[in-house]
Symmetry: C2
Subunit: 337 residues, 2 copies
């Protein structure tokens, strides 16, 4: 009974604090939310909540502020993800449907996410690692120079140039093309790489060997795994206070794509919304920022992740809804494409 009210009080504190950015006191709380009790009662509840570590006072004689633990409880048990308004849904559809290729989808998503949440948005480009080989093309630019094109199921196209030791005729190119395609087509790239390597005895330094090397290299190229798009950095300007403690490290992190990748977390299958609050994250300097992220990708597989980064004091229900909605829409797009 009281337990329930206490949680209601915590919820009210979080909501008020997120809205006003100021510590919230017992009186204001009773006024703004229709809790049917007196301020004194709320004070007792607050004292209890503070004992349990959900809220804290910046200083005596100030209101209360949620702790990371408080936000965690709020996210886990006290809030429901706000459904997007139909206008927002329409905006998502309109903007993303206009995309012309994979890169454009990613860039539009990041803008969209930043706009919807008014936070910094981060979208990882689809990784190679889960994708399958759709086609391998070999083009003889000159008799000793081959353009190798690798097309993956995510729509990514990788191309490499290979210089050959000896001249190669058109027929030989065609043969080679069908050989590598037979070995790799439809496989996820890790398997494709092994299959390709099996094609050629180690001592073979001729055309096949060279092409396979290049393909394997392209498949295991982790540069593209680390590609990331960032948007909405201007939203950092709204931080206002706590500039040094919060904005500076975040601004630095935004340039370190490795850091961002780690923040987004591991891609997991299925639709899981990850919320990392303050100190829960891997970086101490970012202990006053939270991350809301999820995986996306065609079908049930998560090829990559996207999400937002903002102050712990953020609108979690809204952010979670936006992240989920964008991820769903992008996934659907990839499914079709």
């Amino acid at each position: 009974m009281q337990e329930e009210r206490r949680l209601a009080v915590l919820r009210a504190i979080v909501e008020d604090y997120v809205a006003t950015e100021e510590p919230v006191g017992s009186k204001a709380l009773v006024e703004r939310h229709g809790l049917g009790v007196s301020p004194a009662t709320v004070r007792n509840d607050m004292a209890a909540l503070e004992d349990e570590g959900y809220i804290t006072q910046p200083h005596t004689s100030a209101g209360r502020v949620p702790t990371d633990k408080g936000y965690r409880l709020f996210v886990d048990r006290l809030s429901t993800i706000k459904p997007m308004s139909s206008a927002e849904k329409r905006a998502i559809a309109t903007i993303l449907d206009g995309a012309i290729d994979l890169d454009d989808v990613v860039q539009r998503s990041v803008r969209l996410l930043a706009q919807l949440t008014r936070q910094v948005a981060v979208v990882q480009y689809p990784t190679l690692s889960r994708s399958t080989v759709r086609h391998i093309e070999l083009v003889a630019l000159t008799p000793t120079r081959l353009l190798v094109v690798l097309i993956l199921s995510t729509g990514r196209v990788e191309q490499r140039l290979v210089d050959l030791a000896a001249e190669l005729g058109d027929d030989e190119v065609a043969d080679l093309r069908s050989v590598v395609n037979r070995a790799a087509l439809g496989e996820i790239i890790a398997d494709a790489a092994t299959a390709l390597r099996a094609l050629v005895p180690a001592e073979d330094a001729a055309a096949t060997g060279a092409v396979v090397d290049v393909l394997v290299e392209a498949m295991s190229d982790h540069r593209s795994d680390e590609r990331i798009a960032v948007g909405g950095a201007a939203n950092l300007a709204r931080f206002g206070d706590s500039f040094d403690s919060a904005v500076r490290p975040l601004l630095e992190a935004l340039e370190e794509h490795v850091v961002l990748l780690k923040l987004l977390g591991e891609a997991t299958a299925g639709e899981v919304l990850t919320v990392r609050i303050g100190h829960e994250g891997p970086y101490q300097e970012l202990s006053s920022t939270s991350v809301v992220a999820t995986g996306y990708g065609p079908g049930d597989e998560a090829f990559a992740r996207l999400g937002i980064v903002g102050p712990t004091r953020m609108d979690y229900p809204g952010s979670m809804a936006a992240v989920r909605a964008v991820a769903r829409y992008v996934s659907r797009l990839l499914d079709e494409g």
Copy 2:
């Protein structure tokens, strides 16, 4: 005589102010720089410089601060571009030589420039407009689906998929390939586009028409003209004061690539270092930021621009040296590649 000393005083004021970020007074000036005169004399000079609009007082009883006009004079007549130290030169060479492709060159340049100047760096990807066609490749993925690959002299590779109305045999593909290459090879893309269009009568909706359409579209695709890489946003954290007036608009500008392009200015042939100080730029909100930019590209042509954006109170000689050095090195790289 006095004229000369006055300029020396202005130079000293700029240098001190850039170093300390604080208004500089007559006494400190005489102490730190070996001007052979008394503070009183310097005060007279300062009064004159103020009358002419080169410096100003934030308030009575504070030191002087250079105006935009003062910086302009400093840049034009009072400073020499600091040569880069050999360590810096080596750093530039090492970092840029490690690049594996065009995109990587751009990304490394932007990081490097940000690091060298400790400002926000901006590098425009080489534009299509001046580049020539190095090769066009057609690949039949299926009998009705063609991969069109356009390779340009800048190293940029554009690819498009074309779905055909009718099936196309290998021979026909080979024919088509040699036709389009004969028309476009070596031409700058504007001419190549016209030549290609001339190949095909307007009513032709068959393979040739479809392929030419796609090529022309790829050549006139202005998306890639607007591509830009930004780095060193974390350096904005050092602004410290004047957050709202300076950092916020800049942070917003960094997301608007159109704005950044306009800041970088027009690409001009030859090696010209452009310095835009404060209000001289096209955006009023950015009136307390300066831009140092220059063109780069293989040979004498400037394909694109790169530069840095920072507070008007910046180290111009150092920034100019870094921008020029990086542009030169990148140009040389493009020349070879």
